[in-house]
């Protein structure tokens, strides 16, 4: 441990104003990337499923027409 106390750890020897924002921005990017990935995936799947449902409905309609 490079610091004597938790308060000293937070203070970063007077450089808290620089160290924490730099780490914060980096973590923000990493988390942002992960969240964006999940969001993108979920939206894509929703779209794909909707399309699959529509196709199934259309196929069903076509079958009914043939049988009638």
């Amino acid at each position: 441990m490079a610091f004597d106390s938790f308060a000293a750890f937070l203070a970063m020897g007077g450089h808290a104003a620089y160290v924490w924002p730099a780490y914060g921005a980096t973590l923000l990017l990493l988390i942002g990337v992960v969240l964006h990935l999940r969001l993108e995936r979920r939206r894509l799947w929703r779209e794909l499923r909707r399309r699959a449902r529509r196709e199934r409905r259309q196929a069903g309609d076509a079958n009914r027409e043939v049988s009638s």
Binding site: M12, G13, A22, T26, W45, A52, E55
Partner: protein, 246 residues
């Protein structure tokens, strides 16, 4: 052996393969970055010159590494796409680009923040920061060019050419900027070039770099899967996949 690669290079094969691979990289990224952050912030000794502001190195350097590596990876993918017409390579390049731009931005931001305690200013025309800034513009250009084409295929090809031109230029830009910098301010010291670091300083750095690379691979694998689904959404296997699921 050939058949294995051939299967991998097909979007469908890659989709199945990457599903098994990506969790390992996500786990590695989480463990390594978590350990690196704690070690770098709390346990690594402070620098005798810069004090605790030195700890910014543990995010600045990995981000800068990744910023450059991702551009090179994109250029390699572009080459594979143009020469062997493997569409998967282009999908991967598409997936990587925003992360590369983000990493470049973080490297710039952490460099600027680091500059305050070191140089007493938010922006110094330091050689590394300047070439990082130019790299950022290159990323923006590639992303903008890809988006500017109506046809996706031509956008992909254009972006591939530009990435390859850019990657040939990156070393030239780097050396010329360094040359320019030493010419104009010979005495200032650079934030990241330093004499040999002790083990307890560079080991967390190594861990962070490895963690960032794992993160990059994990993101690329996962995002490429999304791009595959998006581009192949008319193909039967994707439609079957979507049908089973819903």
């Amino acid at each position: 052996m050939w058949a294995f690669f051939h299967k991998l290079a097909s979007p469908k094969g890659f989709y199945a393969f990457s599903a098994r691979l990506s969790p390992w990289f996500w786990a590695a990224a989480a463990v390594l970055i978590g350990a690196g952050v704690v070690w770098g912030l709390a346990f690594a000794p402070a620098d005798y010159q810069q004090g605790n502001s030195f700890r910014i190195i543990y995010v600045h350097v990995p981000a800068a590494f990744l910023a450059q590596s991702i551009f090179v990876a994109m250029a390699l993918a572009g080459l594979v796409f143009m020469v062997w017409k493997i569409k998967l390579a282009d999908m991967a390049a598409t997936a990587m680009a925003p992360l590369g731009a983000g990493m470049t931005f973080v490297a710039l931001l952490s460099g600027a923040v680091w500059g305050v305690p070191t140089w007493g200013t938010w922006w110094q025309w330091d050689a590394r920061l300047t070439s990082m800034l130019i790299l950022f513009f290159l990323y923006i250009g590639v992303i903008a060019l890809r988006g500017a084409f109506d046809g996706r295929d031509s956008g992909s090809r254009a972006a591939s050419v530009l990435t390859m031109v850019g990657v040939i230029n990156i070393p030239i830009i780097k050396y010329s900027v360094e040359w320019w910098y030493t010419l104009h301010q010979p005495a200032t010291f650079s934030i990241t070039s330093r004499p040999a670091m002790p083990v307890e300083m560079w080991l967390p750095l190594l861990i962070m770099v490895l963690g960032f690379y794992s993160f990059f691979i994990a993101v690329t694998l996962t995002r490429t899967r999304s791009v595959i689904l998006h581009r192949e959404s008319a193909k039967r296997w994707v439609r079957e996949l979507a049908g089973e699921d819903g």
